[in-house]
């Protein structure tokens, strides 16, 4: 009797041992290597890097393995590691115009400088299960473009901007300090830098649903996919003592620029407006959803009436982080018997009061 709450320490150790065994699965099969995950589950790695806010393919692959493929758990592992890393500086803003493009499409112009480049996309695959993948069939060698044929690929939004048809990007003062919600607690109202950071770390599913809701009329923004580009960019750091930028390496990012209708206001003429999304790796769904939500959250800046959830920055930013969300939802598993006892007492008392009232009523 009365053993239920005893032995927590032993139970935890036993649970961890069982977890390790489950993770390994059937020991007669070869163990998955983190190299295989890094090379073959690349989109999972990309998502973990994006929402984990740490560009490290090896650590993301390790986290996916350790989390048994649960990506939110893997993101959590990466975040917990990231928070222990010292900050030695902030990278200089990188220029996605100079991206080495692997994929670049525009839904607003049939052809444009730099061309449409489909790249590695699921878009036009027929979703038929391919049983030949259940083996070692080698992939066919893809076609290669002659490197000398590369031409500049200016941003679609900038092409519109030359004619004043789209709002200009905010001033390009790159020396202005940029907020960092991992160093300062988020306060409302939040400026766009912090909103974008929050969305970039935010849960893909949450942003997808919110972006979708704007398309269905809850805060409609009339979006066009002006451009989606994916490829590698070089990251530079400007150490103060050196006074010039030092390249740190290349990262792959996916950028989405939505072009949205805007009727104009007393201050601004009718013109297109922008929604922006950027994510590590090849994360198209994420960056598109982010761009939709970014635009929706600009309602206040653009003098639009904020009526839908996707336009409500306290609602969106307070609930976008899946590590926070999963922690608080799952904490309901922790013991709550002290509070529950208090509630039990209250319900019993209220039932007594209710029964007494019923009796009195019946007697009258």
């Amino acid at each position: 009797m009365y053993v239920a709450v005893k032995g927590g320490e032993k139970a935890i150790a036993a649970a961890h041992a069982l977890l390790a065994k489950e993770r390994r699965g059937d020991p007669s099969l070869p163990a998955l290597t983190t190299d295989q995950i890094r090379e073959q589950l690349t989109l999972a790695v990309d998502r973990v890097m994006s929402e984990g806010s740490l560009y490290d393919r090896d650590l993301a692959a390790l986290a996916i393995k350790q989390a048994r493929g649960d990506l939110i758990e893997a993101i959590f592992l990466v975040r917990a590691f990231r928070s222990t890393l010292p900050r030695f500086g902030y990278a200089a803003p990188f220029e996605t115009n100079a991206m080495a493009i692997r994929r670049r499409i525009s839904a607003t112009f049939k052809d444009l400088p730099g061309g449409q480049v489909l790249g590695p996309t699921f878009d036009y695959t027929h979703r038929l299960l391919d049983e030949s993948l259940d083996g070692e069939a080698p992939a066919a060698e893809p076609a290669r473009k002659d490197a000398s044929a590369d031409e500049a690929s200016p941003h679609v939004a900038d092409l519109l901007g030359q004619q004043g048809l789209i709002e200009p990007n905010p001033s390009e003062d790159s020396s202005a300090p940029v907020g960092d919600l991992t160093r300062e607690p988020l306060a409302f109202p939040a400026e766009r830098d912090l909103r974008l950071q929050s969305l970039a770390r935010g849960d893909e599913g949450f942003l997808l649903a919110l972006g979708y809701s704007t398309q269905r009329g809850y805060g409609r923004t009339h979006p066009f996919a002006g451009e989606i580009r994916m490829g590698s960019v070089e990251v530079h750091l400007m150490p103060e003592e050196l006074g010039f930028a030092v390249p740190l390496g290349e990262i792959v990012v996916t950028e989405c620029e939505m072009v949205n209708q805007f009727k104009g206001s007393a201050e601004s003429p009718p013109q297109f407006t922008r929604g922006y999304g950027l994510a590590f790796g090849h994360s198209e769904r994420k960056s598109m959803s982010m761009a939709l939500v970014d635009r929706a959250l600009r309602a206040r800046d653009l003098g639009e009436e904020a009526v839908a959830s996707a336009q409500d920055e306290e609602f969106v930013l307070s609930h976008a982080d899946n590590v926070q969300a999963t922690g608080f939802v799952e904490h309901l598993k922790l013991p709550h018997y002290v509070d529950f006892q208090a509630e039990l007492q209250l319900v019993r008392q209220m039932r007594r009061d209710w029964e007494e009232a019923q009796r009195k009523e019946a007697a009258e």
Partner: protein, 291 residues
């Protein structure tokens, strides 16, 4: 792959601790006021005590003795896990005895043994904002605190009385601190509220996910909200602990069988164990299997 990571004393780096200590000092200077702080991602989930862990890590010294309780018990799984975390990352001494501890991290209880000067009680807080369930917007609740505009809380309590004849809040029962700020005592049962008032120990509250710290300096006036004609009533039990016989303590109800059998035992396991030997030698048990 990178080499095994090595962590600082009590996990957090010193700069982070300094940032948290600054927030703590501000919190102590303005009792009951919620100070925003740049909460870090911890290696345990949000909602499982990350705020309390960060506060503890920031005030912990090498010669401290730490006690961790969850629901009043030292051996609940999460208390075990947090205690082990500090044993591993700080190598400090731990105890289950309230009187031996210099720092006590708690989830949802205040120990039955009265705290003394020099001790620190660190609360884990899920939702620090006492007005949150009346007003979901942070921008609005911050304004209400700034203007001491607590009308919605009084209306809520009044409506409780109008509907039920009493205030229908049994835990996380709001308090007024030093006559100024309304504060959430974390989801401790209201039974524990009187222990916060004029407590000789320093009480610190950490909410990691919500990024807020607040504090009660020693000997702070803490009043549970009520009305003159409906004074605050702490929860009482009509029996003592079945294991140690203590009365006037908070009891957990333990289901003993599937025929309605119940027993009530101390929620504070350390207190219960220290009282049990004498009680059982005297041959006493008030085990009750209720209906």
């Amino acid at each position: 792959m990178s080499e095994a990571p090595s962590y600082n004393f009590a996990y957090l780096d010193e700069q982070t601790k300094r940032m948290i200590r600054r927030a703590l000092l501000k919190a102590v200077a303005i009792p009951g006021y919620q100070v925003p702080f740049a909460s870090r991602e911890m290696p345990m989930p949000y909602g499982w005590g990350t705020g309390g862990v960060q506060v503890t890590a920031s005030v912990l010294g090498a010669d401290d003795t730490l006690k961790v309780i969850d629901q009043g018990a030292d051996d609940t799984t999460n208390a075990v896990s947090i205690r082990k975390f500090f044993e591993r990352t700080a190598g400090i001494a731990t105890t289950t005895h309230t009187s031996d501890a210099t720092i006590i991290q708690t989830r949802h209880r205040i120990p039955e043994t009265p705290l003394r000067e020099g001790q620190i009680l660190v609360y884990q807080v899920p939702i620090p904002e006492p007005l949150r369930f009346l007003e979901p917007r942070e921008t609005e609740t911050r304004r209400q605190h700034a203007l001491e505009d607590y009308g919605i809380m009084h209306v809520k309590l009044y409506e409780d009385i109008a509907r039920h004849g009493h205030i229908a809040t049994t835990y996380a029962y709001p308090v007024k601190v030093d006559g100024r700020y309304i504060m959430d005592p974390s989801p401790t049962p209201k039974f524990d509220n009187p222990k916060m008032n004029m407590c000789p120990a320093l009480q610190l509250f950490g909410a990691g996910r919500e990024k807020r710290i607040y504090a009660l300096p020693p000997y702070t006036n803490v009043v549970s909200l009520d009305f003159e004609d409906h004074p605050f009533e702490p929860t009482t039990f009509d029996r003592g602990c079945a294991l140690c016989g203590s009365e006037g303590v908070y009891l957990d109800e333990v289901v003993t069988d599937d025929r309605g059998g119940r027993m009530f035992v101390c929620s504070d396991t350390d207190f219960c164990e220290s009282r049990r030997d004498g009680f059982q030698q005297a041959g006493g048990t008030n085990y009750e299997a209720r209906r």
